[in-house]
């Protein structure tokens, strides 16, 4: 499998070239173009080796994700006995970033997932009770295993190394290492800080690990546009 990311940072597109028999899994609706010998199979976003109960669970989680995270229910599996290529792109203007996995685990915001390849498990993780108030949804996607994962953003992606502790606005989180502890809270502390600061909710990380931050925030875009719309 070979990858190429072009037109960074605003109009990023990802090209994946598949060797014969290789399988690429991508977010539904993200395909731009493909060689016509690649077959596309629609599957529910369940983990690998999921049994019947696993699939039922995945179904309900997918339903919740669809409602809270605006994420899609299904993923597309691309493969071909002869190999081929596929171009993928996210809907928003933003970056595409490759995250290699060697047995490590990371958490991603719902909506950041674009595609993956290899033995990667994707699970939903509850962001804690307070995350319900965050516009971005109460769930994170936990990815672990061996392989490659591609995430997207709204705006550019910046990598911050958290050495001890760090605070990020929940709307600007793309992902972070699972080794980090996180707590969602109001930035100034207390109700006043939440309501008056205009910062919404923030995520306080503690420990050692990488944090991916996006330079734009869909929640802010929406709250800027909404009052300007004709009633």
């Amino acid at each position: 499998m070979q990858q190429m990311i072009k037109h960074e940072p605003t109009f990023s597109m990802l090209q994946l070239s598949l060797a014969p028999g290789e399988v690429i899994v991508a977010e539904a609706g993200s395909m731009v173009a493909r060689t016509s010998n690649l077959t596309m199979e629609v599957k529910m976003n369940a983990g690998r080796n999921a049994g019947f109960f696993g699939k039922m669970k995945a179904f309900f989680i997918a339903l919740i994700r669809k409602m809270v995270g605006g994420e899609t229910f299904f993923v597309n599996h691309f493969s071909s006995p002869q190999g081929g290529w596929v171009w993928l792109a996210p809907a928003m203007s933003g970056a595409v970033r490759h995250m290699p996995f060697q047995g490590n685990a990371m958490l991603f915001s719902a909506g950041a997932y674009l595609a993956h390849h290899g033995e990667i498990d994707l699970r939903m993780r509850w962001g804690g009770l307070r995350s319900i108030f965050a516009k971005e949804g109460a769930f994170f996607v936990e990815a672990s295993g061996q392989g490659d994962l591609w995430v997207t953003s709204y705006g550019a992606i910046d990598e911050v190394y958290c050495n001890g502790s760090y605070i990020v606005d929940t709307g600007h989180i793309v992902g972070f290492d699972a080794s980090l502890d996180f707590k969602i809270k109001s930035p100034g502390g207390g109700l006043m800080g939440f309501v008056a600061s205009g910062e919404g909710l923030v995520c306080e990380f503690t420990g050692q690990g990488r944090i991916l931050v996006q330079s734009r925030n869909t929640g802010s875009l929406v709250s800027w546009i909404t009052p300007l719309l004709p009633g």
Binding site: H7, T10, M13, A28, V42, M92, L229
Partner: protein, 221 residues
């Protein structure tokens, strides 16, 4: 006509220099600015042609800009941020997705053609086909990526900008059945056959609109 493409790729602006009495035809609303000796005239090119264009999601009228009494300058832009390209028409003929058309030399004849599948796609796949000789300016939503088709290829209709008319194409479903195609979220795709160049755009206007529109509060009736 000499065309300079400025501020590529995100904020492209097409700067067209016209020789005395030379003109350029553009999609209505595309003009950003022009020198004062440039005369603008609005034409539909015949009612049927205008209606056909309107049916194709374009405007009924097209504007022609002519430089009188000296050299003139006209600037054109697209509504969404993205890249632009100048296509040479004559040696090659081009098909352009309607929303990608910006302007062309008056010697280029642009015909509107509806692809039957386009009626249901919501992606509005109406195709403009060039004839004659000259230049054509196209504008994309996102970056323009050139792909050479040799054999066959599949492209999401929302990501199509332009392609050589030598290519055979059919608009259809992306998966094996209608239900899986709908679930896959890919909508309609264009199956290309033959040899030629395809320009694809890296963003899909409909998908972008749905992504943002889905987060907005419902419209009050």
């Amino acid at each position: 006509m000499q065309v300079n493409l400025l501020y590529r790729p995100a904020q492209s602006l097409a700067q067209c220099w016209l020789a005395p009495n030379e003109s350029v035809t553009a999609e209505s609303g595309a003009m950003v600015g022009m020198s004062t000796n440039v005369q603008m005239s609005t034409q539909s090119g015949g009612i049927m042609k205008g209606l056909k264009r309107m049916f194709g999601g374009e405007s009924f009228f097209r504007n022609t800009f002519t430089a009188s009494g000296g050299q003139g300058e006209v600037l054109f832009a697209t509504p969404l941020p993205g890249d632009m390209a100048v296509l040479d028409v004559g040696y090659k003929q081009w098909c352009v997705q309607n929303s990608a058309f910006v302007a062309c030399s008056p010697t280029v004849d642009v015909k509107t053609r509806a692809s039957f599948g386009g009626m249901f796609s919501g992606a509005g796949l109406f195709i403009l086909e060039s004839q004659g000789q000259g230049q054509m300016i196209i504008g994309a939503f996102g970056a323009l990526e050139q792909v050479v088709v040799d054999g066959s290829m599949v492209i999401d209709t929302g990501h199509l900008a332009a392609w050589e008319s030598t290519l055979q194409y059919t608009v259809g479903k992306s998966g094996s059945g209608w239900i899986t195609s709908w679930l896959s979220g890919e909508g309609l795709v264009c199956h290309f056959q033959g040899q030629g160049i395809v320009y694809m755009q890296s963003r899909n206007a409909l998908e972008y609109g749905q992504a943002i529109g889905g987060m907005l509060p419902p419209r009050q009736q």
